[in-house]
């Protein structure tokens, strides 16, 4: 065994770097050790369990999991914290001792875990904080887009402009994996140029065309969100108009039967329909389609008549103000029963072939550009506008000082401004004042001062030595945590005044920021990644098995999740409501999917669910979909999801080379239920070790099919579904209600899982074993406050991990600590 590694993390100020500890400090250190010694004695009383139930596999002969406990005594815990943090995580989730092995009574495991935690926590308190190291942070593309919207008032599609960010620990804001390659740099530079041009605006931009395709034709039979009530057969899309001027709109019209060219006779021209084009919901153009005249003309003249009809929908030239507008194209709704053609559809996309639909539209422009008054970013940028040549440079300095302070997230130096003004001057020489501003903004956006967050330490800092972050750094940490962007003017003012570390001021700021609309970033960036909600996008249920599933339903699943999670985080409710809340948000499509008849229309609205089975996350279609395969449910995925996401004890990956197919049936064999097939996992101890925990958890949700509908029968086996499951503790649970209540019986488990993830996101780094005492204290503190979300946020923000910084501890030292216990 290697020599124990001891590390001391002392606050800067209590220790002068390079000086030895004073006798007084030593005495204080000893006193601090006293509670740890008491805890150590307590822990000794629990040690038997380890010998009795763990050493059978984890010993110096078998090295199960490359771990051996047989040569270890309680006194060795202090030098092997990482190992014991991992051990209690496995025990807390009851992944160890594995199912099928002898296990101590529940209270014995709980007792061991509690004593170990409390020993580790007192050790941490005695040794002082290790705030960990956060690598130089590059803005990821979400942060980039959010920053631009705040600083310049421009909306950018970061996914279209920038390369994807690497994910670590489930999040895309983990600093040490946000690498840069030439491709990144190239795209960030090109984005800086394009965005600066867009933000300042071009007086006479070349006409450009944008095309929009109907996201779904199947949903056009009813009202589509974004269009005026009483319309159908169309869709709406948002578009940025770069300048005031005229724009040409062209819509493509067809029916389920085909376009005007494809199918003759054109039944769908039988009745007259009124087409409307809308801008931000207001009708700006109308024409008609179909009716006797059109039908006769097409009958008699064919192509010339079709061309004439098409021209009504082509090159519709309209004046539009610059900025973002919603374009809508649709038909005014009329009765469905207007011909003897098929009147009702069997499933989305079938039937109703005599309804005209808008399959797409284009916007081309501007023509005759008439200024940039409507460009929203210009009002953000031009806080002054020079009336004569002499006023130009001072005004440019004023503009760039304001913008760059926010972009660089700190007070500007002369150097900062000098560089930016250099770009202004060369741009000004090229094309005047506005070109100068544009070039200067371009430089600001390509600057490392904008793209990177670095927290430098004193030159003589040594590894492991902790320093408080500056007020300005704290403001950035806070803003990127809660808003996924830099601080606003108010937060910067407070930080520059040196007040942010005042705990009352800090709490006020956290409260203010959580109430701000920008805090929706917590839902979209934190919660979506934690709950893996974006995975919904990549799952396409088998259309033969689930013909009713379509893109609209998928979008509705995601929207419900977003609104639901947001309502809990942003209303500062107890986070346990994520599991337990009876309210949700539905539109008609989703409500029907859940078997609720009372919701009408395409808008989402808050309702209270009568059906208790749908309460909380476990009843949400999105979650049930993302834990299924395209053709069936997966109790394994669902169990693993619950373990990892909701309980915080992820199961290990399956060993290499195992057979994982459960679905192939030998010819002639009887069809079995999934539960019966999962029994294969029991036959192999190596499978059962994890599946013995995962499968029973997932089976409790088996009544929800792969697209989240409730079902009582197994449609293949023809047998009723048995949703009897089991927690890792052995406690039986039947169905989602039981499972939910069982999870709520251990609120600390769920809240700790959430807190660890939230802290990973807050810091932008992997949570290490030395962070766990902080995590536990945040959870304890929140417990006293009904686990309200804000109290968890505050706990993290006020922790040393968030308030302090240090150089990375030598990697070899960390490695040694683990190696002392493991074989490799």
């Amino acid at each position: 065994m290697s020599k124990p590694v001891t590390r001391q993390f002392l606050l800067y100020g209590s220790l002068l770097a390079g000086f030895a500890l004073t006798p007084l400090a030593l005495a204080a250190a000893e006193e601090a050790q006293a509670p740890a010694l008491r805890e150590l004695h307590e822990l000794e009383t629990q040690w038997d369990m380890l010998n009795q139930y763990c050493v059978g596999c984890h010993n110096t002969e078998d090295w199960a999991g490359s771990l051996a406990f047989d040569t270890l005594a309680p006194a060795d815990v202090a030098t092997n914290k990482a190992v014991f943090e991992k051990a209690i995580r496995k025990m807390r989730g009851r992944l160890m001792p594995p199912p099928g092995n002898d296990r101590p009574e529940e209270k014995v495991i709980d007792g061991f875990v509690a004593h170990m935690e409390s020993y580790l926590d007192t050790l941490a308190a005695a040794e002082g904080s290790n705030p960990g190291h956060i690598a130089v942070h590059r803005l990821n593309r979400k942060e980039y887009a959010a920053s631009l919207e705040s600083i310049l008032g421009v909306q950018v599609d970061a996914e279209a402009l920038l390369p994807p960010d690497t994910v670590s620990d489930g999040f895309d804001n983990v600093a040490n994996v946000l690498q840069v390659s030439p491709a990144f740099l190239e795209q960030y530079m090109s984005a800086a140029r394009a965005i600066s041009i867009k933000a300042v605006g071009e007086a006479a931009p070349a006409p450009d065309q944008a095309s929009f395709e109907a996201p779904s034709l199947a949903n056009q039979y009813r009202h589509v969100d974004g269009l005026p009530m009483g319309t159908r057969g169309g869709f709406a899309a948002e578009h940025y108009f770069p300048a005031d001027g005229e724009y040409e709109f062209t819509a493509s019209i067809a029916s389920q039967e085909g376009s005007l060219h494809r199918s003759y006779p054109t039944w769908w021209l039988e009745s007259e329909h009124r087409f409307i084009l809308t801008l931000d919901g207001e009708e700006v153009y109308t024409t008609s389609l179909g009716g006797k005249a059109d039908t006769d003309a097409v009958d008699l003249l064919q192509q010339p008549a079709i061309t004439e009809i098409e021209n009504r929908f082509a090159k519709i030239r309209l004046p539009v103000k610059a900025g973002h507008h919603t374009i809508g194209a649709a038909f005014v709704a009329r009765t469905f029963a207007e011909s003897d053609r098929i009147v009702d559809h069997l499933s989305p996309g079938e039937g109703m072939d005599n309804i005209p639909l808008v399959t797409g539209f284009k916007a081309l422009g501007p023509f005759n550009p008439a200024g940039l008054d409507g460009v929203p970013s210009r009002s953000k940028i031009f806080s002054c506008y020079p009336e004569n040549n002499d006023a130009e440079r001072p005004c440019a300095e004023q503009i760039m000082s304001t913008l760059a302070r926010q972009a660089f997230r700190r007070p500007l130096t002369e150097d900062d401004l000098g560089t930016l003004m250099g770009f202004y001057d060369s741009g000004q020489a090229q094309g005047g004042f506005e070109t100068g501003i544009q070039k200067s903004i371009m430089a600001m956006l390509a600057s490392t001062k904008f793209l990177y967050r670095a927290e430098p330490l004193p030159e003589d800092a040594v590894a492991g030595q902790a320093f408080p972050v500056t007020d300005i750094e704290l403001a950035s940490r806070l803003a990127f945590f809660l808003w996924s962007q830099g601080p606003d003017a108010e937060l910067l003012n407070v930080a520059e005044a040196g007040q942010l570390k005042d705990s009352r001021v800090l709490q006020e700021q956290v409260g203010r920021m959580l109430a701000d609309p920008r805090a929706s970033a917590l839902t979209e960036n934190f919660a979506f990644q934690w709950l893996k909600i974006n995975d919904i996008e990549s799952i396409d249920p088998d259309p033969r098995l689930f013909p009713e599933f379509d893109k609209d339903l998928k979008a509705a699943f995601k929207q419900e999740m977003a609104l639901f999670v947001d309502s809990i985080l942003r209303d500062d409710r107890s986070v346990l409501d994520l599991l337990n809340a009876k309210h949700t948000y539905l539109n008609e499509r989703l409500a029907r999917h859940y078997g609720i008849e009372s919701v009408r229309g395409s808008q989402f609205r808050r309702i209270d669910l009568v059906d208790e089975r749908r309460w909380g996350l476990l009843g949400k279609g999105g979650l049930l979909l993302l834990t299924s395969y395209p053709n069936r449910t997966s109790p394994v995925l669902r169990g693993a999801y619950i373990l990892e996401t909701l309980i915080g004890t992820p199961p290990s990956a399956p060993p290499a080379g195992v057979e994982t197919d459960l679905d192939t049936r030998p010819p002639g064999a009887a069809i079995t239920t999934l539960r019966q097939r999962l029994e294969k996992h029991r036959e192999q101890p190596s499978c059962n070790q994890c599946h013995g925990v995962m499968d029973p958890l997932g089976l409790a949700l088996e009544n929800f099919n792969a697209i989240g509908q409730w079902q009582d029968m197994d449609r293949y086996a023809g047998a009723p579904i048995d949703a009897l499951g089991r927690l890792a503790t052995g406690q039986p649970v039947s169905g989602p209600i039981d499972l939910r209540e069982a999870l709520l019986d251990r609120p600390d488990q769920f809240v700790q899982a959430l807190t660890e993830k939230l802290m990973t996101f807050a810091l932008g780094r992997t949570i290490e074993h030395f962070d766990m005492p902080i995590v536990r204290s945040v959870v304890k503190r929140a417990a006293a406050d009904d686990y309200r979300f804000e109290s968890i946020v505050l706990g993290i923000v006020e922790s040393d991990a968030f308030q302090m910084k240090s150089l990375p501890v030598d990697e070899t030292a960390t490695a040694t600590e683990t190696l002392s216990l493991s074989k490799e």
Partner: protein
């Protein structure tokens, strides 16, 4: 000799609607066949290399020919290549030991071309990949030393791992042991990368000027940012500076071209369906080879742990779950069909290359493409025997019409080393290679 790339060339497959204004393509000197003696020599000496990655292995029953040596038989998956028999070299018996780990999918893509075991940490550290070795030698005088492309933004969550993170699961290219290169999946961004920004000479010159002054700024800022940072952060910023220098080189290369105006098809927007997407990426790749914009392309034809359903060939199952076939005949047949589709798309691409003259030969004669996987039997997650086939004549450096069978578990690094050497890259070792193949 087709000097111009006609509008039809790209738009035939592109059902993409776009911003209708046609954008201009710089009329690259390299597009003119035999513009200079130098160009001709370079084309002859430096083949176009391609590395086409298929996740989740292959059904080896339907891949490996029975006959060893010349005039071998084509099994179903390789059948689409039969018309190009003289440009097909099947290499059997290969394995990749460095890919072995319990993290399976999370390191399989990133070790295919590196043949180096990654370090156990979330911050990536593996080995430089063969495509990037090639790019450093034969790619430096093209506008883009290499291109890394994909058809899906990311794969399933198993492409990440608690020990190794996600760096090795989502790319097959590393420009250094710690620098994974992102794979571009958006046809639109791929297009812009190839044909650039700006619509005329004046605008292009302006853009180049902007970039040059930005790069100067970034260079000096990054150096001063290093103050007060730890060693790992400084190393990261050094990597950033390398990127800055690389972009400077590219800007210079683009500028030094003889630029004229040239019509291209509509700019693709959005992501088309999987079949169209894959073919579109190949179409643009052919254009990039033809215009000598790059000589090295790495293509992840599907994401690791992809849940892509191949409905266009009648397979509604998600790819990754299907790959755990448990020796079920039905699943194996579906997988084989799926893999054959990948071969077919590549064969169609070869057909295109065969029709494009390059110097005195065709682009196919001057290509050296590796198609394969870093997994063998997806049901076992094993890394032997790896499916590997070399396509193209390698500018005369690859014999073709051969099925070579080496001793079991010969490192696939040997094949990569052989390809690099035949492409004129002066290397003696790659990953865990033990030598190169004289027979290829």
């Amino acid at each position: 000799m087709p000097v111009f790339i006609t509008k039809k060339f790209l738009s035939r497959r592109t059902v993409l609607r776009g911003m209708g204004t046609t954008i201009a393509l710089p009329f690259l000197d390299a597009m003119v066949p035999a513009a200079t003696a130098l160009a001709q020599t370079a084309a002859a000496a430096k083949p176009r290399m391609g590395f086409f990655y298929l996740p989740h292995g292959a059904i080896m029953r339907d891949w490996t020919p029975d006959i060893i040596g010349k005039d071998f038989d084509f099994k179903p998956i390789l059948k689409p290549f039969e018309p190009y028999r003289n440009h097909v070299t099947v290499v059997s018996g290969l394995g990749n030991k460095p890919a072995q780990s319990s993290a399976v999918h999370a390191i399989t893509p990133g070790t295919w071309l590196s043949c180096a075991p990654p370090r156990r940490s979330h911050a990536p550290f593996g080995g430089i990949t063969a495509d990037q070795v090639a790019a450093k030698h034969i790619g430096q005088d093209t506008a883009l030393p290499s291109l890394e492309i994909a058809t899906e933004e990311k794969g399933g969550s198993a492409a990440c791992d608690g020990t190794y993170g996600c760096s090795f699961g989502n790319t097959i290219s590393f420009s250094s042991p710690s620098s994974p290169l992102p794979m571009e999946f958006s046809p639109k961004k791929f297009f812009a990368k190839l044909f650039g920004e700006g619509t005329n000479d004046q605008e292009r010159a302006m853009i180049a000027n902007d970039y040059k002054s930005l790069l100067d700024m970034v260079m000096s800022e990054t150096s001063s940012l290093k103050k007060g940072l730890g060693a790992s952060d400084i190393a990261m910023l050094d990597g950033y500076l390398d990127s800055v220098r690389e972009i400077e080189r590219r800007v210079h290369n683009l500028e030094s071209r003889d630029l004229s105006i040239y019509d291209l098809p509509e700019l693709p927007v959005g992501i088309p369906n999987f079949d169209e997407h894959t073919r579109l990426m190949f179409d643009m790749m052919a254009l990039a080879y033809q215009a000598n914009m790059t000589r090295v392309v790495s293509f992840m034809m599907a994401a690791e742990v992809s849940n892509q359903a191949y409905t266009h060939i009648g397979i509604p199952d998600a790819f990754h779950p299907l790959s755990h076939h448990n020796n079920s005949a039905a699943s194996i047949d579906k997988l084989s069909l799926l893999q054959t589709w990948h071969s077919q798309v590549i064969a169609d691409f070869m057909g295109k290359l065969a029709a494009i003259p390059d110097g005195e030969n065709s682009l196919l004669d001057n290509s050296m493409l590796l198609f394969g996987s870093n997994m063998s039997n997806s049901n076992n997650h094993d890394h032997f025997p790896l499916p590997s086939v070399v396509l193209g004549g390698g500018a005369g450096a690859i014999k073709g019409n051969q099925h070579l069978k080496y001793e079991d578990h010969t490192p696939v690094a040997n094949l990569l080393l052989t390809m690099l050497q035949r492409a004129g890259v002066p290397v003696e070792q790659h990953g865990d290679s033990t030598g190169s193949f004289a027979e290829v």
